[in-house]
């Protein structure tokens, strides 16, 4: 196997809160190969966005390493990091908050180019802006509009255009299609997959929509309260989910079909464990239908139960 483009080793991010340390990301090990997509799914608040931001160093990690092409970027000095940022971009969850309301579409897309000075000259920058707008399928007449005048789909296209403006290699996609309707979602997903093919992009794709994740990802990592509880190939995860949380997650997918309507819902219940100073042991134990006394004794690490299928559960 070749060297992965992005790899995290025991990555940790804790936030200080009045009641103690909040373990948002707690010892995550991931690898993403060049030109591939890693899907990340998990309960809201389990640290998916935080993980993405720590990998991009938008947040400073509390511990662990992020290897980009084999080098630990967490030790980079500021200037080297700024150079590095051209290669790594992010597309955000919220197409509302992620665009500066005071800037017009052209200014938003041109901003990264101006900051990184990858292209000089007004005319050249303008051309690049139009080129990006064409790439993401945004009509040129929108150059002067402001984000609040546009609908969610077009805003998300601006976000993608901004991320692509620097020709990056690796993009963290933090729920880029959650806010879009299914038709536009399909267009954006096709666009992202085309771009991946054309430019050899590598994605870390965070989403709640499991059917979307399954469609776009090669591998999937399932997170629960800051930890990665299961990681394997996309098809394998759906065919053979091992961790009880993964099983609950897959069972809760709403299917666009009335036959499932009166099916008894087995929603996982129980108090959500607080991520602040968590007790040792499996974090899912409090809600797990298959819980055993051993679960709460000590932390359970990822174990390779079959080739390429990792799971953190005492049952396996």
């Amino acid at each position: 196997m070749t060297r992965p483009l992005v790899e995290t080793r025991d990555l940790k991010k804790y936030f200080r809160t009045p009641r103690g340390w909040l373990h948002a990301v707690d010892g995550v090990n991931l690898t993403i190969s060049r030109g591939q997509t890693l899907g990340v799914v998990g309960e809201s608040g389990c640290g998916k966005s935080t993980l993405g931001r720590v990998i991009l160093r938008l947040l400073e990690a509390t511990g662990g390493e992020v290897l980009y092409d084999g080098e630990n970027i967490l030790t980079y000095k500021q200037d080297k990091m700024i150079e590095m940022r051209k290669k790594m971009q992010i597309i955000f969850q919220d197409p509302y908050a992620s665009l500066n309301p005071r800037m017009s579409v052209s200014e938003i897309i041109a901003e990264p180019i101006k900051v990184c000075k990858t292209i000089a000259g007004r005319k050249a920058i303008e051309d690049k802006v139009y080129e990006m707008m064409d790439t993401v399928g945004l009509a040129r007449r929108f150059v002067n509009t402001y984000p609040h005048e546009l609908d969610g789909g077009r805003r998300q296209r601006i976000g993608i255009a901004r991320a692509l403006a620097l020709d990056p290699e690796f993009i963290v996609c933090d729920e880029p299609v959650s806010a879009l309707d299914v038709s536009i979602q399909a267009q954006i997903l096709n666009l992202m997959m085309d771009l991946q093919e054309e430019r050899g992009l590598t994605y870390m794709f965070v989403s709640h929509d499991l059917s979307v994740v399954k469609h776009i990802s090669n591998d999937i990592a399932v997170m629960y309260l800051g930890q990665c509880v299961e990681r394997t190939q996309s098809d394998e995860l759906f065919d053979n989910p091992l961790h009880p949380y993964t099983q609950a997650l897959l069972a809760a997918i709403p299917v666009p079909d009335l036959s499932a309507r009166n099916r008894p819902q087995n929603i996982i219940r129980g108090e959500v464990t607080s991520p602040v100073n968590p007790k040792p042991g499996c974090r899912f134990a409090a809600r797990c239908p298959k819980v055993r006394p051993e679960c709460s004794v000590e932390d359970i690490g990822l174990k390779e139960v079959s080739p390429g299928h990792f799971v953190a559960c005492i049952l396996y």
Partner: protein, 296 residues
């Protein structure tokens, strides 16, 4: 799959510059345009007053025979207790008062914004140290602080203005800091960081434009209080030296004669009101024009 079909790609839409867009929105606001016209005429008056007024003979020379005359065709605004022409003094005062307001507020705004931005953006220790210093200043009443500073620096117009400015810095710092705190956590700031934007540019280009509303309001408010504040200092002998025609000091001198010669108060008062009003209208218009969400 794309929207290109709807436009002719060889004829792209003209990009509009930001300044033009702001002016376009500002122009639509009638009141704001009126304010701008008013302010420009005041500036014009200030600039041209030297051309048709002679400072020594017309503005400060005392003619006790002509004292306290009501407005007439000869003295449009009447004369004061030393027989000086009030019109000439009000016109000349424009120079001083506008300068007082603009100078003070500019300094307070620049320094206050800098402190507030640093405190709000970096948070933590920087925030604590800067804001505790600001709190000390805030804890003292502005005038007393100014008196103390003038006491230390010595009297004189520039020192007085510096004192007034310093007394106002904390208020700007507070406003800017709280505006920045509510903006810095938003995702578009992170997007800017993600492409390696340096802190200075993030503050100047992404945060401050979004915080402009409360700052503009603060600026116009302080212009007014500064002009009046200088008058207060002049009154206790720390401000502008006696014969200099400054609206605030004219107003406070006129207080004694209010009963029988009210026009002495009216004209400098109206001048102050007009300048403050024009600045207020400009401020409001600017705030809306800078926010693309406020169309029409």
């Amino acid at each position: 799959m794309t929207e290109q079909a709807t436009v002719n790609p060889s004829n792209p839409v003209k990009k509009r510059s930001q300044l033009k867009a702001i002016w376009f929105r500002y122009r639509k606001n009638k009141l704001a345009m009126f304010g701008l016209a008013l302010f420009l005429s005041l500036v014009l008056v200030a600039a041209s007053s030297g051309l048709f007024l002679d400072y020594d003979t017309q503005v400060i020379e005392q003619r006790m025979r002509e004292r306290l005359q009501p407005p007439s065709s000869e003295h449009w605004f009447g004369t004061d207790q030393y027989g000086r022409d009030v019109f000439a003094r009000v016109v000349w005062g424009t120079r001083i008062s506008l300068f007082v307001g603009v100078f003070t507020v500019t300094i307070a705004l620049t320094v206050g914004t800098l402190f507030g931005a640093l405190a709000g953006y970096y948070g933590g220790t920087v925030d604590n140290v800067l804001m505790r210093i600001m709190d000390i200043f805030l804890a003292m009443p502005g005038t007393i602080l100014a008196v103390a500073i003038v006491g230390a620096l010595g009297p004189g117009l520039v020192n007085v203005l510096l004192a007034m400015a310093i007394a106002r810095i904390p208020q700007f710092a507070r406003i800017v800091r709280s505006a920045i705190i509510s903006i810095r956590g938003q995702e578009f700031i992170e997007a800017a960081k993600a492409c390696g934007t340096r802190d200075g540019r993030i503050i100047m280009r992404h945060i401050l434009p979004n915080a402009i509303g409360p700052i503009v309001v603060q600026v116009t408010l302080h212009m007014a209080t500064t002009i009046l504040g200088v008058a207060g200092l002049s009154f206790i002998g720390l401000g502008i030296e006696a014969p200099t025609p400054e609206w605030g000091s004219m107003l406070s001198e006129a207080k004694e004669w209010m009963r029988y010669h009210p026009y002495l108060m009216v004209f400098p008062g109206v001048a102050i009101i007009l300048s403050v009003l024009s600045l207020n209208l400009i401020g409001d218009g600017l705030r809306d024009a800078l926010d693309p969400r406020m169309k029409n």
